[in-house]
């Protein structure tokens, strides 16, 4: 086995009432776990592609992945990496507002934090089908940006470093919110782990 499931840094029920315990448990032990399992199945036959490489590195260099397995790596590797980040940027002690260098960058790009939040919410709500809304840093310009991706496509594959990820596959919210995706997207801001995101932002500036 090459890649491992990161430990969930809190209990299944820790994100309630915003994300219910059953959703966290199934999302983590079934969906995330299955992306990992499928990815490792692909990786074991292609050591030269994966050995000693972080999954985010593989996704960054997605054009170098053999064509035969490329779409599978986009799907399964993307699913693995996207969920690794999702659990990290959520926390029972989250919520509130960003701070430090990040809030400066947000103001520079969006004028206010409220604008940034509104745009990110609208982007996540607008995804048709399965996908994600993201706050990202462009690797070259270091500019913040809000983007959406479909299915499990990774921002790393388009030269962006993700800071905030909002999973809008229906499995992320259906047990509790059913068709009411906008409500889930609004509520998730109560458990956003700004400390982690700020740390990731400072790392991203050094890339």
């Amino acid at each position: 086995m090459i890649y491992e499931l990161p430990k969930l840094p809190y209990a299944y029920d820790a994100l309630e009432p915003y994300i219910d315990a059953k959703t966290v448990e199934i999302h983590y032990t079934k969906h995330h776990q299955s992306y990992l399992h499928n990815l490792n199945n692909i990786a074991k036959d292609y050591p030269e592609v994966f050995l000693d490489k972080k999954i985010t590195q593989v996704l960054t260099d997605i054009d170098n992945v053999p064509e035969k397995i490329r779409q599978q790596v986009i799907n399964q590797g993307g699913g693995y990496a996207n969920h690794n980040l999702y659990w990290l940027i959520l926390s029972p002690n989250g919520g509130g507002k960003p701070d430090g260098k990040l809030v400066e960058a947000i103001k520079q790009r969006f004028e206010t934090y409220e604008n940034c939040k509104r745009e990110l919410e609208a982007a996540a709500v607008s995804v048709f089908g399965s996908g994600y809304g993201w706050l990202v840093v462009d690797k070259n310009t270091k500019q913040l940006d809000i983007i959406t991706t479909k299915n499990q496509d990774s921002p790393y594959s388009i030269n962006k470093i993700p800071l905030i990820v909002i999973d809008v596959w229906e499995h992320a919210y259906y047990l509790n919110y059913q068709n009411r995706r906008p409500e889930y997207v609004a509520k998730i801001f109560n458990v956003i782990n700004w400390d982690e995101i700020e740390a990731n932002y400072e790392k991203a500036l050094l890339y």
């Binding site: 499995h171 047990l175 059913q178």
Partner: protein, 204 residues
Amino acid sequence: MKFELPKLLYDYNALEPSIDALTVEIHYDRHHRGYANKLNEALEKHPEFAEGKTIEAILSDVNSIPEDIRQAVINTGGGYANHNLYWAILSPNGGGLPKGELLAAITKTFGSFPEFKTELTKKANSVFGSGWAFLVVNKNKALEIVASANQNSPLSDGKTPILGIDVWEHAYYLNYQNKRPDYVTAIWNIINWDEVERLYNETV
């Protein structure tokens, strides 16, 4: 003219245990109704375009949709039409085997009914993300199994769907969660073959 939500021909709990009542209710009354409403909303910008056209005619010729509403109509019109089909080809009295000319065509194309069932099941389980698996009649009047992403309609590829399996997570998540294959297996117990056959005969 407005596209209307077709009446559901059975109670919300009629498809249990294959599909639970709450799923049918939300799927029909929220998702399906939402597509119908948003479709009508999108078409308000170009009332003359949709006048006198069926949704099938519109989806069969997507290039003729005004560009500023094209993607919206593909999404919401596709969602509207696909769900119209979905509810019609399910029934509490469904299951079993197709008959008549449809069965003959299935046997001719796929070898046997079990082989067809295996192939359509596999197609439905292999859709990555949101989408559908369909049994369609192609331009040569032959049967074919296709998958489509999101709400894209096979009509836009010149293929008429006569059976559709919705594999958006909303179709099964309340009862089956991540176990999509269990939902796909269970749906065979409620397929309304009389309706599928009627659609087949109408198309060929």
